[in-house]
């Protein structure tokens, strides 16, 4: 019996790093409110991920390994998570607020009759959490009034858990999913191929906006010099210049790298919502009145098509990058 259940996320046998933020939140909830936590891994051939997760101080790692779970589908995963949560008597079910976590956990909440807090940024008590609303312009303290609580965890608010050593007990979950009853089926996944680090995991992020006029070449070149991930404002996504999974903002990805470059981005509220917790923010924009300058640590007023190549040269002179 574990009071807290963390739903791990893996893709093709690789642990999604965001899971470790949810593990951090579980550790914090366990130390503040008492109890211990278990980690549930779902998928097909996920033994290695389960083994990896035994080193994080969980009371146990529960493995749901079955061909029917090879591809994430909300219905099948909801059934297994719900069955395990009930068997464990879990009072708190957590997952990272990735697109999969956001897709899955509300269904789990409905199945458990639980209330759900989305995207929590801190744990204020056994049933109290802080979470952002209104594009992060408001922090709400919410109370979940149900005996079982479900929550997704904002990755930038909880650092990735470090391995503690030791070995959690591994148990096997009963997978009771009738494949024939599922009303959704997987067709295909078009993976965005990139040699660059993932947006939510990168130490440095370079984002481009409307000012690029659709030419992301300077953005990509600066990112490659810095070994950075590439992001974009909603305006750039709206214009069809880059795919939506590059969007940083309220309705896209939330990032908090050590260094964030906003290039040709005006700095709308909804963009700030996605990057304001970055440690250092640099803005490059030709409009000196752009709201991005109101919160950036360093601002350079200038044409990005001139400034960015110069910056790359200067970085190289300073021994940064290739």
């Amino acid at each position: 019996m574990a009071k807290i259940l963390v739903v791990a996320e893996q893709y093709m046998g690789q642990l999604r790093p965001a899971t470790l933020s949810a593990v951090s939140a579980a550790r914090e909830a366990a130390s503040k409110n008492g109890g211990d936590f278990a980690i549930l891994v779902l998928g097909a051939n996920v033994g290695a991920v389960a083994d990896q997760l035994t080193g994080y101080g969980a009371a146990k790692v529960i493995v749901a390994d079955a061909p029917v779970l090879e591809r994430y589908l909300s219905e099948s995963y909801t059934k297994v998570v719900t069955d395990v949560a009930k068997a464990e008597g879990a009072e708190l079910v957590l997952a990272s607020a990735t697109t999969t976590g956001k897709d899955l956990l509300p269904r789990v909440a409905a199945a458990l009759g639980a209330g759900m807090a989305s995207d929590i940024t801190s744990i204020e008590g056994p049933n109290k959490f802080n979470r952002p609303m209104f594009a992060g312009n408001v922090i709400a303290t919410v109370e979940v009034t149900t005996p079982i609580i479900v929550a997704t965890v904002r990755g930038t608010a909880f650092s990735a858990a470090e391995a503690t050593g030791g070995a959690s007990e591994k148990t096997t979950a009963n997978v009771d999913v009738d494949a024939g009853s599922l009303r959704t089926s997987f067709v295909k996944f078009d993976e965005t191929k990139s040699e660059r680090p993932g947006l939510t995991e990168a130490r440095v992020v370079v984002s481009g906006g409307r000012g690029t006029k659709g030419d992301f070449e300077p953005i990509n070149a600066l990112a490659d010099t810095l070994g950075a991930a590439v992001g974009a404002s909603r305006a750039a996504v709206d214009s069809g210049w880059v795919p939506n999974d590059m969007q940083v903002g309220q309705t896209g990805k939330i990032v908090a790298p050590e260094l964030y470059f906003a290039v040709g981005i005006s700095g709308a509220i909804q963009h700030w919502a996605g990057m304001k917790d970055s440690k250092v923010i640099v803005a490059i924009n030709k409009d000196g009145e752009a709201p991005i300058f109101a919160g950036a640590d360093y601002g350079l007023i200038g044409d990005l098509f001139k400034a960015v190549p110069e910056l790359i040269d200067e970085l190289k002179k300073a021994g940064v990058g290739a």
Partner: protein, 248 residues
């Protein structure tokens, strides 16, 4: 084909957010209200599906009598009729989903399309809750939808790429940003919308208990970032990033 869409009323997201003096919530006094932008994407998609397959688009909103304005916006865009679930309760995601379950049981739509999240509370739960309560399939964060017979093929915006799912109908689809560009209501559309039927229901009549599972206890404003230095050159920038910020 019958399509049910939602039109949540919320404060214009371009408005600067102010808190109530007692920090119990956001002060919406005098604010301009709009349809949740993601719900506009949902309505647009429903209208395009109707144009292709024919059928009916029903626009639903939950809340005080003023939410009828947002239903009328959906009707002015081209929706056929509206349903207003009249309540002054503090409706959380779960209450909204349980109300919609009852409306859907009455209406029996082939597909329900709604925004992936409302940009006021940013919870992003209702579509998924609804799918589970109804025992339906869901395709959230849709960027492309096509319907053929009793199934929908939906491309989803997920971490790391685009996923395509097939969903048996009836099913739930939630709209992401790139699904479409919502149309503006035309003047004749606005005139016609005034005459379209908006049925009023109540949670009581639907047999839904409006006790919220999640309550907002208080709100605060996160610390704002202050403006830093303006640099004159890329040389100065690199120097400061190295020696002052120490991030290079």
């Amino acid at each position: 084909m019958k399509i049910l869409v939602t039109a949540k009323r919320l404060m214009d997201p371009e408005t600067k957010v102010k808190l109530k003096k007692d920090n119990s919530g956001v002060d919406t006094e005098g604010a301009k209200f709009v349809v949740n932008p993601f719900d506009e994407n949902a309505i647009e998609e429903a209208l395009r599906l109707k144009e292709k397959h024919s059928g009916e688009v029903v626009v639903v909103s939950i809340g005080k009598p003023e939410v009828v304005e947002q239903i009328r916006t959906g009707l002015a865009m081209g929706g056929d009729r509206g349903i207003h679930v009249n309540t002054d309760a503090d409706v959380d995601s779960d209450v909204a989903a349980r109300i919609l379950v009852k409306v859907i049981e009455q209406e029996q739509p082939d597909v329900v399309i709604m925004g992936k999240q409302a940009v006021d509370d940013d919870s992003g739960q209702v579509g998924q809750l609804l799918a589970q309560y109804l025992g339906w399939g869901q395709a959230c964060f849709a960027s492309e939808v096509s319907i053929d017979g009793n199934k929908a093929t939906v491309t989803r915006e997920v971490d790391g790429g685009l996923e395509t799912l097939e969903v048996q109908l009836p099913g739930i689809i939630t709209a992401d940003l790139r699904l479409n560009e919502p149309r503006y209501a035309s003047l004749p559309g606005i005139m016609k919308a005034k005459k379209k039927e908006v049925k009023e229901l109540t949670p009581d009549a639907l047999g839904v208990d409006t006790a919220a599972k999640v309550k907002v206890l208080s709100v605060s404003t996160p610390p704002a970032r202050s403006a830093g230095k303006k640099v004159e050159s890329v040389q100065e920038l690199v120097q400061l990033l190295k020696t002052e910020a120490k991030v290079l």
